[in-house]
Amino acid sequence: MNGTKKKITRLEKKFDRILMREDTGLIKKKKGSRAFRKLMSNRLAVAGIIIVSVILLAAVFAPLICRYDPLKLDLRNKLQKPSIVHLLGTDQLGRDIFARIVYGGRVSILVGMGSALTSAVVGVAIGAYTGYKGGLLDNIMLRLSEIVMAFPQIILVLLLVTIMGQGLRNLIIIFTLTGWGGIYRMTRAQMLSLREEEYVQALRAFGLNSFAIAYKHMLPNAVGPIVVNITLSTAMFILYEAALSFLGLGVPLNISTWGNIVNIAQDLRYLQFFWWLWVPGAIVISLFVLGVNFIGDGLRDSADPMQQG
């Protein structure tokens, strides 16, 4: 029996381990949500959660961890290299870069998450109802979303920025206006498939009103993909904020945001000779987006019962 047995692979070893534990009765029925456990067993997702939490906490508790006021100018000490005094050095106005990044995170994350949440609220509210109800309203919203989505988003954003002007609140509104389409369509698709579920038909057979069916009974079952979508659009909007800053149309330059910090790299002199002005910002932005994407992917995997691991 064993003579011809193939070499033991990594997988086989894993199998043996599971089998042994199963036989000795070590594996008990686990408590808690299966999805949650699965998320926690996804190494990248955990890394993402750690990265994002660290940056988030730093931003929220910025006054506790920053020695300097991010707005405090020190013209005589501008462009200082990273040192003990200034952890990441100072910028062209002598502001502490570490403090700027930490405080900038507040605005950038607010823009990213706020826009993602508001567009989710809009998209889900419309998508859930029209997706369930169908009919003319559904048709109109579908066409509308097609128009919004057929248009290159950044171009639409640019148009809106010129119309509405720059500013934090405007940016969130603009991102919402341009970003609701994706989540709307996803919610709608979810509702379309949920609509065929028999419990929905049963509720209709009881004569429940459409709002209750759509929002109370169906929506909770579409929440998985919606959360994934919110996560991923948070990442997207943070990148958009940076891109808009690059084009000079983002949040006004006097407010520290990650985009505005990194934007300085457009100036070749800073790009080439004063790396500390933009490299830390670029790293933080990329790390945060990476972390959020990790979480989003992890959530997607854990919400998907098809994938086993």
Binding site: L11, F15, I18, L19, I27, K29, K38
Partner: protein, 332 residues
Amino acid sequence: MKDDDVIISVKGLETFFYTNNRCNKAVNGVSFDIKKGKTLCVVGESGCGKSVTASSIMQLLPKLSRIENGEITYHSNEGDIRIDQLKKNGPKMRSIRGSDISMIFQDPMTALNPVYTIGFQIGENLQYHTDLNRAERKGQSIKLLKEMGIPLPEQRINEYPHQYSGGMRQRAMIAMAMACNPKVLIADEPTTALDVTIQAQIFELMDKLKEEHDTAIMLITHDMGVVTELADDVVVMYMGNIVENGTVDDVLRKPAHPYTKALLESIPVLGRGKNQVIEPIKGSTPDPYNRPKGCQFAPRCPFADSSCQVMPDESSISDTHSVRCLHPMEAV
């Protein structure tokens, strides 16, 4: 050595699944024989391990599973081949698959590749197991389709699966499986997705093929009616074990295992009238990750006692009939 008419013998097969860091002992010590030119029906409820057994024979198990123990022997013309010792997708295994042992699946809609024509998919089988050239393969495919009762095969060979109706798709599947005249045809619930009138057609076809080609058929089903109509031998499975094994007469007329008996009594039978008495089996199938100790059926069995805490051995009732129970039913 087994008698000559056995084509595949399975002995003590154990196949476990390892998903989500748990181990499911889907097939836990199963032994039976498939005989030449006979139909073996494997019957059981969902999750009893009948499909896994079939997949084990074909070595078509998913990645996160493996055959732990046991022997699967294919008694070929060139001598015995231990299938369980072959490399999963190695050349030897591949030369057996589709040529000596073929398989058809439950839902022909998903089992056929939607983007290739039926002709292409049948031709593929011929391409890898025969020396026929392209034109000959096409001719052979048309012949096969005709034999399966598909009208206008010359035309339909160029059609895609979605252009076929459900019954026709299953016929095409069978044509594909029969392309190289296999010794054994494993049919995994081939008619579950079909209507009864179509099911009758498919069974008729399978019967005909069995007669004409002397093919052994391993038919997996959950329907006792199907067993009654088609089987020569019957294997009843419950939670990864064979609980009863015998000829169709043995098992249906003199069910020895309480599970078999209960199963037969719980289904309404056509023709017995409106007032027939059916007796439900109490409880439900246990969670495979939380199996009862000993006899798997014990918690639902009206005859169970404390001795059933130990897995009973297989015991013979007659030459052809065996049962895995400490309290086998008296023959009626």
